[in-house]
């Protein structure tokens, strides 16, 4: 009896495989040939899989460390009293944040928020209107226009820097945060139009027709029906615009030289240059403050975007 035991145990865990769990008795009969083979077949690729997974995981871990180290350094430095370029034991102080804010980081982040929000609002409104028109209406030379929009959005913005400067000199728009936002919005609009046009294309027309026959005018249809349904696309477009404006460096540097208007991206840079020796602690604190709005925006929007792009219940198929 005792010698049979391991075999029976083997049978027991084979049973579900062999016959969907009919019982050990049936499995015992089946164990001799087909099941034993199928078991071997199942095991072997499993081992190879594990090996491959181990290699893939080690590569990922190495890459992860590469990405993570600077971030750990950043947090470490921001909260350390004597931050340097090397990692050290954090001493958990908010002094760096206090220092960097007192040296103007608060104002610069405020300026960046202004540029980000104003340019996002402008670009989003413009690209919703343009995207809707291009998606729904017959526009002369539409294909040509769309292709040039795509082409323009791929051009490096630096190309336009000098012409924009010239134009701003003529219009007297230099050193104005609002007009700087306009330029930043203009930078994002081509891609946003392209994106939103394609998103609105996906919104079934039936919704608009239903709204129209209910007596809604085109403005109401756009804001009450099309915009909510294209919201995932609109959010993507506005996040991209905001992040672009938030990190903008060259353009504000050229067209707004008023020190009071300095955005955070330039603020960090001048902070590095400010002293003979780099003040790592305040600099890291500045960098963390600088990234908070983007992270918050990202977190808020992922919740929205997780809802995805669903017209379920409205129209089928």
């Amino acid at each position: 009896m005792r010698s049979l035991r391991p075999k029976q145990e083997e049978d027991r865990d084979l049973a579900p495989l062999a016959d969907g769990g009919l019982g050990a008795g049936v499995a015992q009969a089946a164990q001799r040939s087909p099941v034993a083979i199928s078991r071997a077949q199942i095991r072997r690729p499993d081992r190879r899989d594990r090996k491959q997974r181990a290699i893939a995981n080690s590569i990922l871990v190495l890459l992860g460390i590469g990405f993570l180290t600077p971030m750990i350094w950043l947090i470490d430095a921001a909260f350390s009293t004597h931050a340097s370029s090397a990692l050290s034991a954090p001493s958990l102080t908010f002094a760096n944040f206090g220092k960097t804010i007192s040296e103007g980081a608060g104002g610069a982040i405020g300026n960046s928020l202004y540029l980000g929000i104003v340019s996002t609002v402008i670009a989003t409104v413009v690209s919703i209107l343009a995207g809707y028109a291009l998606s729904r209406h017959r526009v002369p030379l539409k294909a040509f226009f769309l292709l040039s929009v795509l082409f323009l959005s791929a051009l490096p913005f630096q190309l336009l820097l000098i012409p924009i400067y010239e134009i701003y000199v003529h219009l007297g728009w230099l050193n104005s945060p609002f007009y700087t936002s306009v330029a930043l919005a203009a930078n994002s609009v081509p891609f946003a139009i392209w994106l939103l046009k394609n998103f609105i294309d996906q919104v079934p027309r039936e919704f608009e027709e239903a709204a129209a026959i209910e007596g809604a005018g085109s403005v109401r249809i756009l804001w009450k029906v099309v915009v909510p349904l294209a919201m995932p696309g609109i959010l993507v477009a506005s996040i991209l615009t905001f992040i672009n404006a938030w990190g903008a460096f060259l353009l504000p540097l050229v067209i707004d030289t008023n020190p009071a208007d300095t955005p955070a991206a330039i603020g960090i840079y001048s902070n590095i240059l400010a002293d003979a020796q780099i003040q790592y602690g305040p600099l890291a604190a500045y960098a963390i403050l600088f990234s908070i709005p983007v992270i918050v925006l990202y977190l808020v929007c992922t919740r929205w975007l997780h809802g995805g792009f669903a017209f379920a219940g409205g129209v089928k198929g």
Partner: protein, 366 residues
Amino acid sequence: MAKIILEGVSKVFKDKPSPAVDDLNLEVEDGEFLVMVGPSGCGKTTTLRMIAGFEVPTAGVVRIGGKPMNNIWPKDRNLAMVFQNYALFPHMTIAKNLAFGMKARGEPRATIAREIENVAGMLGIESLLGRKPGELSGGERQRVALGRALLRRPEAFLLDEPLSNLDAALRAQMRLELKRIHAQFPVTTVYVTHDQVEAMTMADRIALMSHGRLQQTASPEYIYDHPANAFVASFIGSPKINFFQGALVRDGGGPRVTFLDCSLELTGTAGEAVERLPHPNVTVGFRPEEIRLAPASGGRLPTVKCVVELVEPLGPETILVVRAGEETLVCKVPARSGLTAGDVVTLEFDTSQAKLFDPESGSRLN
């Protein structure tokens, strides 16, 4: 409520060679329930969309309540439409879906709430008001879409295959409900469907279309008994009408048409019409209920011996698919007749009901 008139309406789409709707003349009476029926691609939905204002006619005039509508936006036509896929706004609750139109038309909030309550009560959807369309079943969505249309208090209802996404049982139930609602609010209704059963059961009048052309407009019973052409005869009725190739024979007496092994005397106008044809061919049509088991004693009607191929008992009656020489034909026999496949039966043709068509043009001859 209003009368809808289509005068010589055509619609040609740029990328299609033949017109989607070709010179359509149609009047929908005030309060009438008109069903436009036809196979897919016959132009019925395009016609409905022209009435709604989503498509502009290439030629002709659409009048609603006497006024030409060609230059009037959909929103100003005061119509209500139920879409095939319901088109409920997925981001709004049912209550907001229902309120959408009234808000757009600037009605006071108290009126909106009261009306929604009324309509929701009538359709039995009160408990759904807080939900979103995605959480509703097909039948519930259908009711909400109807409710939205009712709240419009329109000049006319336009319904585009509203039942096609429902299962069979629910469809039968909604057919009754739609008729009940129409009886309660006798608003001019144009109902588009490809299902001849819906057309027969619901319509005051059927407008049958094919290839962009109106084939016949008549009451369900009239269109069933007096189809204008072979297409109408074959589209309306289930199981389908049987067509046989017939030939005109002149041998001394009056003109006769022979089909299968049968002979059909032609009398009156039918004879004249057949004799006027440039060819001797005639299509003879009998509906399944016009072909019966011949009485054992033998009657005066022409008969044919057939072999039973298929027996479909429906309960109150049984459908037989039988073979007579080369031809297959379908007939209705009393239930529990004890027939099985392979049996030989003698069938008689009720020649008084024979429908004769010109096989080339399809037009009716008698």
